[in-house]
């Protein structure tokens, strides 16, 4: 009984079949349809608001009306799967990639990926900073076999579009040049959090590949090989130090004296 009622009501609100819930509702001064309409409005406004909070740049690019329409389609196709609204919207990029009305904005799905990465990074676990003293106790000849652990907030994203600049010009208060240079090719981005502040950085392909290899669990030597394949001049020492200082790399395993 309760199951039938909840199923019919949820179906009516998500637009599958509005008629099934009607008889379950006491009409009174208002029709059952009007009462359902209020709930439908609240549900859509809530979920749309959650999406807009996570995806402000997508909304800035497409405008409020477009966003609203697309979001309502999305809510029906990819409904929320959690009572925690922070979990809602992971599939937004995949939805936009095939959304017919967004065909003229081929970079939009990548923007959504970037914003989801930012959202995840913001909520990821904290870590203590890298223990350099511990590293100095490892014999240098063993360094190549170490596995470096990235901060939980690290996300690595590559795009065929100038994603960083697209993101930048759509930030509130941005005062720089609005022109985008589409000829420069794509971006390799690092999204990470230091303390509580999430930031986005453009990396050279070699550096990006190095971090990606580390995140896949590669040993330092293998990761360095992949980076040097991309750029024989890659400054491994410098980048490694920088990554440690910015809490991108927070730990290591694999030394024999552990």
């Amino acid at each position: 009984m309760l199951h039938d009622l909840q199923s019919a009501f949820a179906g009516a609100l998500l637009g599958a079949d509005g008629s099934a819930a009607g008889p379950a509702i006491r009409a009174g001064a208002l029709t059952a349809a009007r009462r359902l309409e209020i709930y439908r409005y609240n549900v859509l406004a809530n979920l749309r608001g959650a999406l807009a909070d996570i995806y402000p740049v997508v909304q800035a690019i497409v405008g409020e009306a477009f966003f609203r329409h697309a979001a309502e389609q999305f809510i029906r196709v990819c409904p929320s799967r959690s009572g925690d609204l922070n979990q809602f919207g992971q599939d937004w990029a995949a939805f936009l990639a095939t959304y017919p009305h967004a065909r003229d904005l081929p970079y939009l799905a990548d923007v959504a990926k970037l914003e989801w990465a930012w959202h995840e990074s913001f909520h990821a676990a904290d870590h203590a900073s890298f223990d350099l003293a511990r590293l100095s106790s490892v014999a240098p000849e063993q360094h190549g076999r170490l596995r470096f652990q990235l901060h939980s907030s690290v996300r690595l994203l590559s795009s065929g579009f100038p994603l960083f600049h697209i993101w930048e010009v759509n930030q509130p208060g941005y005062g720089g040049a609005m022109e985008l240079d589409w000829t420069t090719g794509g971006d390799h981005l690092l999204i990470h959090r230091q303390g509580v502040e999430v930031s986005i950085h453009r990396l050279e392909p070699a550096a990006w590949k190095f971090l990606r290899a580390l995140s896949a669990g590669a040993e330092l030597e293998q990761a360095a090989e992949q980076a040097l394949e991309a750029d024989a001049e890659f400054d491994l020492q410098g980048f490694l130090l920088q990554s440690v200082q910015c809490d991108v790399i927070v730990n290591f395993t694999g030394s024999s004296n552990e």
């Binding site: 009984m1 949820a10 509702i25 009462r35 979920l47 009572g83 609204l85 922070n86 676990a125």
Partner: protein, 282 residues
Amino acid sequence: MTHENPPSPGLHGAGIGLRTPHYQALLAQSPHVGFLEVHSENFFCDGGQPLRYLERFRRDYAISTHGVGLSLGSVDPLDTGHLKKLKRLVDWLDPVLVSEHLCWVGVNGRFLNDLLPLPYTQESLDHVVTRVQQVQEYLGRQILVENVSSYLEFADSTIPEWEFVREVAQRAGCRILLDVNNIHVNAVNHGFDALAYIDAIVPGSVGEIHLAGFQDAGDILIDTHGSAVSDAVWKLYAHAVRRLGPVPTLIEWDTDIPALDVLLGEADKANRLLATEAALAA
């Protein structure tokens, strides 16, 4: 599980909902408020800014957690992932109160993320009582359940809402978070006597009261939490305090969030009323 109903420890007077637009003003002014209430799910994250701020506020204020997503009334199995995150938060924060809503928010794995009303039937009552007990057992502590606002009544309902709320608390061994604004909204929307609702609630069973603003849509009242508490709700609140005692009271404001001072003004108003009623009762 305790079936006694002691006064909520560490909780006095009126509190306000903790919302991000007020973080800086709260830290700068350190105003005196009875307690701060957070939406549990906003702190389900593994780390980062939300938990950092919460840790900071916990140093100066008593904190209660208020869940919107556990879906106590749903026929779906309890979401163990959700419950686990709630327990992690509660164990870490040790809040003065933990509350949830007497509603369902999703079914068949699909979530609407809205506080949807139950049909008030024996079946619903048995179901919710079992669920509340499961949650209390899992968390290892008593919870409060809140009466929700609604824009419809189900044809199947056989139990008046106030009896349903009272029965859930008595049978599950939980306490009630009595939302006086929701009682007003439902009384107008469904044509019942709000005073009679409050008179049906057992003194001692209410651990917290919520106050908020609604919006009049012309044909129905909508519980928007987007304006000041109305005069009608203040009157009802005075009646509730007279009957139920000086219950810790929260001012909720979730949309069109005003400056912190406006919220503190509402909390002061609740405090004055609590003091007046306490003086009259003495």
